[in-house]
Amino acid sequence: MLNLQNLHATVGEGDEAKPIINGLSLEVPAGEVHAIMGPNGAGKSTLSYVLTGREGYEVTEGSATLEGEDLLSMEPEERAAKGLFLSFQYPIEIPGVPVMTFVRTAMNAQRKLRGEDEISAPEFIKKAREVGAALNINAEMLKRPLNVGFSGGEKKRLEIFQMMMLEPRFAILDETDSGLDIDALKTVADGVNVLRRSDRGMLVITHYQRLLDYIRPDRVHVLAKGRIVASGGPDLALRLEKEGYDGVLGEPA
């Protein structure tokens, strides 16, 4: 599904460009959820931006494919239409554009790029209601401009709302647990677990093991200095929690 080979990437323009990803290789097969953990500055968020095509994040070497298709040659919106979704660590406020309008515009734009028909208004509203109910998001909230004046927890729930509406083939969750209290964390994790399917992959980026109690990963990878330095089963996350990154990696990360 998602295949990264010897990926190198820099952040910044021209002389300011700094190498952040240094030979990262990773494969997440369809149907699996992998977690990426790592200390601050390891390159976790950079990886999510590199994969989704943010300006200023330049790949200098290596490859990234989704289902065999080269992601790196595509515009961000094309990657989205191919089914790549990023739940942002810091969701952006979109003034003047209500949540419902935004998600419907996004959904139809993706469908158009894929050559599919638009979703009908009643069908969309029905789906939004169902997904909203599952995430404790009421209709009033969906009428407000996206993320404007929302609390940190509400913003994270709206990220999951968008993910459930858009039904991506591959989702990257960048520190979706940060800023959430335990109830919100459970709600978000439930949303993610509902989406686990044999043809969908996920990459869960997190600082802490806590989220992984609720979203059980198939594999855990440790990212440090821009590359995967250790991989293992769910136990690895528990060991990291107990021993810290230094303990697991055997040297200061």
Binding site: T52, G53, R54, E55, E75, P76, E77, R79, A80, A81, F85, L86, F88, P91, I92, E93, I94, P95, G96, V97, F102, V103, T105, A106, M107, A109, Q110, L113, P145, Q162, L166
Partner: protein, 413 residues
């Protein structure tokens, strides 16, 4: 004094100014016409060496005042159902056979100079060029009831060098009127003057859309005098033209009156749009709310000049707020802004804000990550930004105006 005498201050006139002078001289000379033309001739066509016109040089734009050769008329807004339509064809107003109850119209066959302490050269020019015996280009309208159906003013002149139109509204106490105006047409230079006298407790709600090609220059001048507890709400959407000036002067003469001036401008390549306003709080406890939002593409030029004047003692308890926010959509877009508060009274609340910048790159990336193409994302963000200034538009045309803005932004993307 003759028109020739009145035009004396016009030393070294341009071709356009000579044409205007000849046209005025061909009209029946009256004292008031001579006086109006004389007031215009004090400055001639406004130009960049005049402080209030430093960014909008009408004289330069009109060097060769020639009839446009092609049909330039662009659709602005459709006439809403049930509206009372007044059409200005470039020469005369065409009124419907029956006017709604509470509306009466009278043709004026003389030029009345604009009584204003502030210079309004395009207003004076229009005053001197209208009120002819031969055509009804100056109509006074009295509103003596609460008129529910909108009055639609369709400025749709035939191809011509110039089109001058004037209207004077007198809204009697506790009466109200709602106007929708479409400013388009095919004149190389069109200048409109609308005066409002809004008496005690009366209200005017004015919505208009301006569109012109890069071969056309436009002046839309309005003055409003508000008496006690009167209300004047104006919502404008302007796309500019070769040089386009929308100038609104409001003067509070009675206590507790209220004005709202909301404008949105969208300037494409080679389009120039100027929103200038002047609000004088010459009465206590009046409120003004002003929001202007603009978006300008490469090669486009937006101008905002706003002034609140609060004289000593008579302007006490003024509450006024002026906001101008502009988006420069691309490199090569220009926005000039001059917000001014001139306050001499000591117990007032006046605020202003002025920003210009670019779309938030983080928001654009966020939208593209969700699958919204860059062009669409830019248009959506810009539209949301602009629409805020159109909230007070007449509900019968508000959606059309938003569509117009959207079409512009999709095309410019």
């Amino acid at each position: 004094m003759t028109i020739a005498d009145a035009s004396n201050p016009l030393s070294n006139p341009t071709i356009a100014e000579k044409k205007l002078f000849d046209r005025c001289r061909a009209m029946r000379a009256t004292n008031s016409r001579t006086s109006a033309f004389g007031l215009f001739a004090e400055t001639g066509l406004p130009h960049r060496r005049m402080e209030q016109w430093k960014w909008t040089d009408i004289r330069a734009a009109l060097t060769n005042l020639e009839t446009p050769s092609i049909d330039l008329a662009k659709q602005t807004v459709e006439v809403p159902e049930g509206a009372c339509v007044l059409i200005f064809d470039g020469v005369a107003w065409k009124l419907p056979e029956t006017l709604p109850e509470g509306v009466s119209a009278h043709r004026q066959s003389d030029a009345t100079p604009l009584k204003t302490i502030e210079g309004l050269p395009l207003g004076q020019l229009t005053a001197s060029m209208t009120g002819q015996d031969s055509s009804s280009d100056f109509v006074s309208i009295e509103i003596s009831g609460k008129v529910e159906q909108p009055i639609f003013l369709d400025f749709a002149s035939a191809p011509a060098e110039t089109a001058f139109a004037r209207l004077a509204f007198n809204i009697l106490p506790d009466c109200s009127v709602r106007l929708i105006e479409a400013h388009s047409g095919n004149a190389a230079f069109s200048s409109t003057l609308i005066e409002f006298r809004v008496q005690n407790g009366a209200s005017v709600d004015r919505t208009f859309v301006q569109r012109a090609s890069t071969a056309q220059s436009v002046g839309i001048t309005a003055t409003a005098v508000l008496e006690e507890k009167a209300s004047f709400v104006q919502t404008a959407l302007g796309f500019g033209g070769k040089a386009c000036r929308v100038e609104t002067h409001v003067r509070f003469e009675g206590a507790e009156a209220h004005a709202e001036l909301n404008s949105a401008y969208l300037a494409g390549d080679d389009h120039h749009i100027d929103f200038t306003s002047h609000v004088t709080h010459a009465a206590p406890s009046c409120t003004t709310r002003q929001l202007t939002k603009g978006a300008v593409s490469k090669g486009g030029r937006g101008v905002f000049q706003g002034k609140f004047l609060v004289p000593r003692s008579i302007g006490q308890f003024t509450d006024a707020d002026m906001q101008h926010q502009a988006l420069l959509l691309e490199d090569g877009a220009e926005v000039f802004a001059k917000p001014e508060l001139e306050i001499y009274a000591d117990d007032v609340e006046c605020a202003h804000g002025n920003t210009s910048g670019q779309l938030d790159e983080a928001a654009l990336f966020y939208m593209r990550q969700r699958g919204i193409p860059a062009v669409e994302a830019r248009a959506l963000l810009t539209e949301a930004f602009i629409v805020e200034a159109l909230q007070t538009a007449h509900e019968a045309v508000r959606d059309q105006m938003i569509d117009e803005a959207r079409n512009f932004l999709r095309a410019e993307g």
